[in-house]
Structure formats: C-alpha cells, structure tokens
Symmetry: C2
Subunit: 418 residues, 2 copies
C-alpha cells in the first residue's frame, strides 16, 4: 500500500504508448528521489489527451502527497499537459508576462521570433509556482492542491533533469524530511540469474535489513540491496559485508564492483592507478570497446588508441596481422585475435592490447563458425590470453556482450597480476 512518503509519476506522451520512444524519466526520478528517502510507489503512462490527463491526476491526487508529471509542455498542438492539470484542479490558465518576456529573449538570442504556439507556453494554472527552464522554451511549474503538490516538468531529458534537481527535489526534501534510503549495488558478469542465486545459497536468502533485487544486465547480473524502513545501520553494514565476502568467494573476479561503476570504469580506474595504458583492436564489436572505455571521463589518461579493423586489409595494414594467418585460420580465429591484440599494443605502445573478432550475425555464419562465435584477447609485454565464447542473442546483443567480455578479460588479468 502506498505510504505517506511515497510519490507517483505520470509520464505523458502518445509516443510512449505507440512505441515511438522509450521512457527515460522514471528511471531518473526513481533513482534520484531515493537519496531523499522517498519512493515512487506507482507510475502511469498516458497519452496527449486533456481528459485522460485530467482524469488520472484527479484519481491519483488523494492517494499521494506529491505527483510528478513529465512531458507535454512543448509548443505544438499535441502538448496539452498544462490544460489537463488545470482541468483536474478546476483552475483557469493564466498568462505570465515575465515568462513571455523570457521566451521572446530566448528566441531573439537565436535570431528568431516566437509564434503564438510559444505564447501558450507562458500560460500556467492559476496560483502556479513557475520553474525557469534555462535550456528550452517550456518552463515547468508546481501547483498545490490540499496537502499535495503537483509538479510538472518538460519532457526533454536535458531540460527535465537540471530542473528536477533545482526545483523539485529540494521541495520534496522539505515536504518529507526523511533520511536517505540506503542502496548497495554489487555487480557481476558472466553468470545468469538463477545460477547466481544458486551459487550464493543462504547468503542472499538470509538478508533481513534489506530487500534484494536481481537485475540482469547486458553482460551479467546486478544484486541490489535496498534498506527496509527502520533497519539498523549496524545490521545493514554486517549484511552488506557478508554478501560482499560471499560474492568474492563464489565468483572470484566475476564479481567486479561494489558500487555503480560499469566494467569499463572499473578497468579504467585500475589502469589510471597503475599508470598503465590500453589500446583496442576491434572487428566484431565495431568500436563498442573504444566507446565504452572513452565514455568514462578522464579516459584520455590511459586509453591511447583503438582500431576498428573490419576488412582483412585493415587487419593487415593497421594492425600487422599476417596474410598467412588470415588465409590459413580466417579472420574469426584464435590466431587472428592473438595477432590483433599484439598488433594494436605494439603500434600504439600501450601496456595492454585488447582484441575482439567474431560473427555478430545475422549473416556470415559457416557450419564451423556460428553466429555469436567470439574470440577475445588481451596482450601484454611477453604474453597473450585469448578466450573463445559463443554468445546468444541478436547482432546488437552479441556485440555488446563481446565488448563487455573483452573488458572483463582485461580486468581478470589486472586482478591476477596486481
């Protein structure tokens, strides 16, 4: 049952119901409000329809102290969230001159003139508190209804996120005044959900201070502990430590992170701390390894170069793979993978070279080389390790799994050679 410290979210947009776009807001809001001790107890997705929005707001308002609506504040005719909220609360829409002045200025700075459609964006339900939008023309707003507050934010994430941080979260913190909700994440790679449950046995079943979620990711499973209300800090510490130790025993380096960093971030931080460097030679993964590594700010300290060698000629010329190797074993082989890893390492003079080659599908398979067949390698001064795996899934899944697998192989090497 929803508690007084729970909030609800209403995602507005025909595009969400028609499958033209996935939602990003619920994950953002759910994650961020936890730090305030607040939970989202339920979320709703509704189309761009005044009556549907108004009906939903009216229905949910008696059940929560805060409702956050996202989307539908734009200038086009399908943007009707402000009208829906006004109708739900029996309020008229009022024109706000300072907002209109600001919108005109926003356009003028870009050498343009706002239209009547933009003028609609300067209207708010009577009594609203208006939230300035530094990145777009749609301000947000909040309206109080009894002891509840309705927050309304524009849909584009680059606008919504800073506005939520500046205006909504501080108000929620004052409204609820709760300690943060403790959440602990333990990240694993290369094991399935029920296999992991089995390996952990009682260690996960016996948690009393937390609830446990098992979240399959592209390459493994995250075990997430969320504090139960009223649990003691000492009990939480003890249980989290016990799970941490058990994961290490049962999974070894397949348990790679207590925290939120992705494998590329963990590997990057290790390299930075060791003063070592990395380069990548990719075929199958087509740039995914380089992209994951360079997504981490500061990657330029340890990532020297990547080569995406799709054509055999590129493997020869950019990486120094021998024509005989390609001829005798093929591009998808342990031998080619070995030479790719050595080749990128030598050419970029990095401490480590990582390589991937394989068959992403849907075409390219042969009787001996099925879709998903992947060779991943790590080369260092005087050595190389290559691993063969057949990944399940479609082209996109195979590419992502192989990239994570290759980064894990390097992680495993780093941990074994500290």
């Amino acid at each position: 049952m929803p508690a007084r410290h729970d909030i609800e979210v209403i995602l507005v947009g025909d595009e969400l119901l028609r499958g033209q776009r996935g939602d990003e807001h619920l994950a953002f809001l759910g994650r961020e409000v936890r730090a305030l001790g607040v939970r989202v107890s339920r979320a709703h997705t509704v189309g761009d329809d005044v009556a549907a929005i108004a009906g939903l707001v009216r229905e949910r308002l008696p059940r929560t102290r805060a409702l956050i609506l996202t989307g539908g504040l734009g200038p086009t005719a399908d943007d009707v969230t402000r009208e829906g909220v006004a109708e739900a609360l029996d309020l008229g829409l009022e024109f706000d001159e300072p907002t209109w002045a600001w919108i005109r200025e926003f356009f003028a700075a870009r050498g343009r003139t706002p239209t009547d459609a933009n003028r609609r964006q300067a209207h708010f339900p009577a009594g609203s508190e208006i939230f300035a939008n530094a990145r777009g023309t749609a301000p947000g707003f909040a309206v109080t209804a009894g002891d509840a507050v309705v927050f309304v934010l524009p849909g584009p994430p680059p606008e919504l996120q800073p506005m939520a941080r500046e205006f909504v979260f501080p108000r929620l913190a004052r409204l609820f005044d709760l300690p943060p909700l403790r959440v602990e994440t333990f990240r694993t790679i290369g094991v399935g959900e029920s296999q992991l449950v089995e390996m952990l046995g009682d260690a996960a079943a016996g948690l009393g201070a937390f609830t446990v979620s098992w979240l399959p990711t592209v390459a493994g499973v995250d075990v997430v502990l969320t504090a139960r209300r009223g649990a003691e800090a000492a009990a939480m510490d003890a249980e989290a430590e016990r799970l941490h130790a058990r994961l290490g025993e049962a999974l070894g380096t397949r348990y790679f992170e207590r925290g939120e960093r992705p494998i590329a971030g963990v590997v990057g931080d290790l390299l930075a701390a060791r003063g070592e460097t990395l380069s990548a030679a990719e075929s199958l993964t087509g740039g995914t390894v380089a992209r994951l590594v360079t997504a981490h700010p500061g990657a330029s300290a340890y990532f020297l170069a990547g080569v995406v060698a799709y054509a055999d000629e590129a493997k020869r010329e950019l990486l120094g793979v021998r024509a005989e190797t390609l001829g005798q074993y093929g591009a998808v082989s342990e031998e080619t993978c070995t030479e790719m890893a050595h080749g990128i390492r030598r050419r970029s003079r990095s401490t480590y070279g990582v390589a991937t080659t394989g068959i992403a599908g849907p075409t390219g398979a042969t009787p001996h080389k099925p879709v998903g067949l992947t060779f991943m390698g790590v080369a260092w001064e005087g050595g190389v390790q290559v691993k063969r795996v057949i990944y399940p899934g479609d082209r996109s899944a195979v590419r992502d799994r192989a990239a994570h697998g290759a980064l894990w192989l390097l992680y495993d090497h780093l941990r074994r050679h500290a």
Copy 2:
C-alpha cells in the same frame, strides 16, 4: 477515452520504480501492436507486491479487453506476478507437470539441477493457457476473465519479445480483427522542434487524416504521422506526399529519411548502392561513429576501418597527422580534423574518410575551446570539408551529437555529388 480496440500494459518491477533499470517493454509492445490496428491506451508501473498487482489488475480489467503484464515470473522471492494475477481473478495456483519436466530438462542440459525456487515457476492460475519459453525457465501464460484476456510474459527482453510474437500478437489479432494502423515517419537532423514547426508552417497544421507527433531525437526531430481511425487511404497518401515534399523544400538534406532508418543506415545503404567505401578517424566520439556504422547489418561491404586516436601520438602514427599541425593548432582544430580525415582515407584506401575531434567535457576546455566544441570532416579524392559546431549537453550528449553530425556531413556530401 479508451475504446474497445485499446489494450493496457502493466509493467511489474521494483527496479523500474527505484530507477535501477529503464523499461524497454512498453516501446516494444506499443510499436508491435500498431501493426494489428491496436493501441495501448494506458500503461502502469507497479512494484513486486502481490496486493498492488492484484489491485491494479482488478481495477483495469473492466476497462479493457486485453491486459499485458510483463516481469516478475523469475525464480527469486521478489517474483510474485503469478500470485498477484491469481489473487485478482480469485483463482488458485495449479502445478503443471509438463512445465516442471521441461524446466528440469532445461537445467539438465546445462549440467545443473533446478531448485524449489524453480518449481514455483511451474505454477499457474487455474485454467491458464501456458506459453513455452525457449530461452529461459519462466513460461508465460494467458487467463480469460469474462470477455477480457490477461497475458503475462517474463521480463527479460530476449525472452519476452519472441514469446509476444509467437503467442500474444496472433491472439490479439484474432480478438480485435482490425486493419493495421498506418504510421509514417519523417526523420530530420540538426533542427530543433519549434524551429521545424516554424519552417513547415501550414504543411503540418493542415493534416486531417493523421495525428502528428514531434519527437526530438539525439540529433534532430522525427515527425511521425499516425492514421486517424476511418481516414481514407487516398487522403493519407496525399497528405504524406505533401509533407514529404514540403520537408524536402524547407530542410534540404537535413530531411534525410522517410522511414525508420537511422542516419548511419541511410549513409550505409547509399554507399553500398554506389559501390563506395568509408573509414572513420575519431577522437572526441571515441568509437561512436564506427559503432553506429557497424550496427547496420552488411556494413562490412562498405566500412573498411576506424581509428580511435585519443592520444596525439596515435593521431600521428595511426593517421599521419603532422606533429607541426598538432603543435601549432592543437588536437582540436580544423587543421587536425582535415589531416585526420585525409589520413584515415589514405591509409585504408576508402572512398571517404570521416573525422571528429573536439572537447566532450567535463574537463579539457580552455577559454577559446569550450566543452562541446567539435570539428567534423569528410575527405574524398581531392577534397575535404570541415565543419565547426558547439554542441550543448553533457559528455554523452556531445559525443552522440558529434557522431550523428559527422555522418550527416557525409550524407550531405553524397547527396550533393550523386
């Protein structure tokens, strides 16, 4: 108001409300059921809680003829969707021997033994039709309640998607027996939403056979037309043609696709048709251009090689950028970008070389080179074009926008030199 041909979706999972994962199912289901003429009128997200699930199913069932629930069928204690549905419909859970035999076989094939937790997965509300899951241990099921059907599918997308296609969509097609819902997508790049509305003027406002959605994407805006019920095919054809023509006039090559292909797919198909090839030299985008291009199946026909040259040394050695150029103008400059584009083209002997260099942030900015500053280039036999842009947004947004911008620059060149 929901119509008889509308369905509703219930997404189950604490992780969705806590922001530990974004939902992918609603977008998939919304998109796929359109082909059956069916719309999702509303969606709900609820936690792993028997009473909350049961309450929601009971509340929504009188309002729709089909309800699809996703998630919460796994073996762990937090998976309670089957219990919630059984409670909502006042049905007991019955053990299904053939499913249990199948689960044991699934484990045996992997050298493991199922646990009591897996035995729960062989229980279904009485009278369920059971949907086999070829990729996991959680079967789905459907239960009829009056003239409505409740479908329940497991959460992992690689399991849910084939099961929805095999079991759910054919049953929805029979239940509703409607013609497909026509949807037309027009993709643009490099213009904002209200700018686009302005440029199109009456052309978009005057559509009667369709509703229009404006969907900002990472790099532009998609204009999506969805047929109104009962609209004539001839009227739809005429309106879609008119918008297509108007977009071409107003936006030129910034209107790049009538359909669903991303810019990398459009560019790839053009290159394949022309028998030309591409290579990419990336700094700022860190492998994103290569990854976008190689995501398109068949990319090996035209994508020869990519180099991610993060370090100056890599720019010199792998791409042939001159030390003097780097010294005099810096790595983030028109001159370096030019040499990168020429360098990758020459070294991989491709028809075109694409290059990116810039400042992704959060660090690395200087007074003259702010975060977001990007140079993108396209080189061909005897020529090069470089463009300078300052992209807004965080590291991830800048990287993605720059990669799309670079691919568009090539697209623009290809269209001008047919």
